[in-house]
Homo-oligomer: 355 residues x 2
């Protein structure tokens, strides 16, 4: 399959111009362009420019408020609830994260939730914002489509509700965990279908509980939670913290954003920021984290294993590689984006090189 490579700046420019053409203010468009391009840069390719066409479809269907008033509607010393006013989720969670960082400087921890938000890209994008302040970021979200039934059930009342954590380090790559509470995220199932490959056992089951291996039949089955009933419980708790607590959609109220482009999703997300300096000395914390990372990396490996990875190292390597060589986009996506460029009368993406 032919793949073109595009620079971070090119992707960022294209998304920004597309958002402007769709009617968003320049400042908001530029922020969304930066955050979405950062998703591609770190290899979160299910959450970057691949989402631009669906976002455009939602905006053109009237499903997004282009001139929102994102505001704090409830606040205590270390908490806040933001009403996202049905804005693009990136704008809501960027604002929430900045507020949480400011609050954590005073309180030691801050916990800021949102409702009437929308899909905001990969969870780690916001948790990582803590790192440049030498703080820890935790992020929880209600997924934008229910693909997970409760344990023992077949009604899909739960989602992949992700968790992200970012931990600052001294010399090592920061630890960044970004995980769905299901064994596979739904995007991975779609990727298998596109490639014409079968899924490994353990990703999905059918309505009788038997393994489902054909990704083209994914509509007939469900994702499996990590650790069986444990992942069901974890997905539920993440949903309660990011959804119900924030007055956002959870359970039956979740709108499938792949099927309904108009109804307000009332997406809920939460960012928590912890200042390690509130518990000890930040330099000592970062030194200890580096030591732990090295102990893990240098520990004995199982036969056939070349390297023990820490969470966040693979995305870091992708970031470095993508900055150097550009970001590969599949041809089908490039063609979709040419169409979008024509539709919005903006300059199409310009490939760096063709490999």
């Amino acid at each position: 399959m032919q793949q073109d490579y595009f620079s971070f700046e090119n992707i960022q420019r294209f998304i920004t111009e597309a958002m402007c053409a769709l009617g968003l203010p320049l400042k908001d468009s530029a922020l969304i362009g930066e955050l979405m391009a950062k998703a591609d840069l770190q290899g979160s390719d299910g959450h970057g420019i691949i989402r631009l066409a669906p976002y455009a479809k939602r905006i053109l269907s009237g499903g997004i408020n282009l001139n929102p008033n994102i505001k704090v509607i409830k606040e205590k010393l270390a908490t806040a609830l933001l009403d996202g006013d049905n804005a693009m989720g990136h704008l809501v969670m960027y604002k929430a994260t900045q507020l949480a960082i400011e609050k954590a400087k005073t309180s030691g921890i801050a916990w800021v939730g949102s409702h009437h938000s929308n899909h905001a890209g990969p969870a780690s994008l916001y948790a990582r914002m803590a790192l440049e302040h030498d703080m820890i970021g935790l992020y929880f979200a209600v997924g934008n489509a229910n693909h997970l039934p409760p344990w023992g059930g077949i009604d899909m009342l739960l989602s992949t509700n992700p968790i992200a954590a970012a931990i600052p380090t001294r010399e090592e790559t920061p630890i960044v965990l970004d995980m769905a509470t299901t064994v596979a995220a739904y995007g991975k199932v779609k990727a298998k279908a596109q490639k014409g490959e079968l899924m490994p056992e353990g990703w999905m089951i059918d309505k009788n509980g038997a393994p489902l291996l054909d990704p083209k039949k994914s509509e007939e089955g469900f994702l499996l939670p990590i650790g069986g009933y444990k992942g069901y419980g974890l997905s539920l708790v993440v949903g309660l913290l990011a959804g119900t607590l924030n007055g956002a959609a959870m359970g039956k109220d979740v709108i499938d954003f792949n099927k309904d482009y108009k109804t307000t999703t009332n997406t809920g997300q939460t960012i928590a920021i912890i200042d390690p300096d509130a518990f000890g000395d930040i330099d000592e914390f970062k030194t200890q984290t580096d030591k732990l990372i090295r102990d893990i990396r240098n520990s004995a490996k199982m036969g056939g294993i070349k390297r023990i990875w820490l969470p966040g190292e693979q995305s870091h390597e992708k970031r470095v590689e993508h900055l150097k060589n550009g970001i590969a986009l599949p041809q089908t996506l490039v063609e979709q984006l040419v169409q979008l460029a024509n539709q919005l009368h903006i300059q199409p993406l310009t490939p760096n090189q063709t490999k």
Copy 2:
């Protein structure tokens, strides 16, 4: 196998008297007695009176400070770090939780960590304390023995590092999640060995990555994290939050409390308390949580499934049943406790009835 049944009060009384006889002040002994008996009451039988003999062994070996000065050594508006002064962990985390509840009333959230603590029983014990204040409790701990290698490794640098969450409800049983980040907790492996049963595939692997099914060979293998590399990442992050952040043991520094009864464990634990009233209306939150619980319970079941359980319902049913009929203790444990009673010159446990 013969089993005797004991009342909650009898178990509580016995533990309290044992702790007094071991040299702890009455007030501290009574609190430990109550918390340990509550663990048995809710069916957390790996964390209740079964731990009394190992605790006694540690105390008699000089591994616990019997007259500790548990104090806040660092504090901000919404955070605190407690030095547990090598006290029994129950005393440290009870104090930490009470402090977090008080702080959350003002700040909306509070996050209180400990170091120089010790094993404190089941994670849910402390998360649940939030419920009577209509608050949410989250608990994270570094496990007291490393049984989990990093993903791809064979050096056991990580533990079962548990997560607990307690969510208040209106009429329904509160949602209480209490889970190790491994597929099985190590106590479950020991229980299989005692019963002479094989473990299911997925609990443990051997040094070559092959499934390990014989629990008697557990020393030759490792626990598996939930969701593979995801559970490895989750265990690591929980350990960083509950251990490294608090200046407590993590990784290579963790003392195996089943093998070393003397060295200070420097156990780290964290309790976070969230006030739902800071994000909305507590009554509305509890109503929505009830609705979600009912939607899940009443949703369509997979063939052969009788009931869809919510996290916390099974332990609640055990609590009710145990209050009515008493708590069953295996004969080997009862005999061990008779020996301990003789050694400490206290009145042995008195069974209710023999079934």
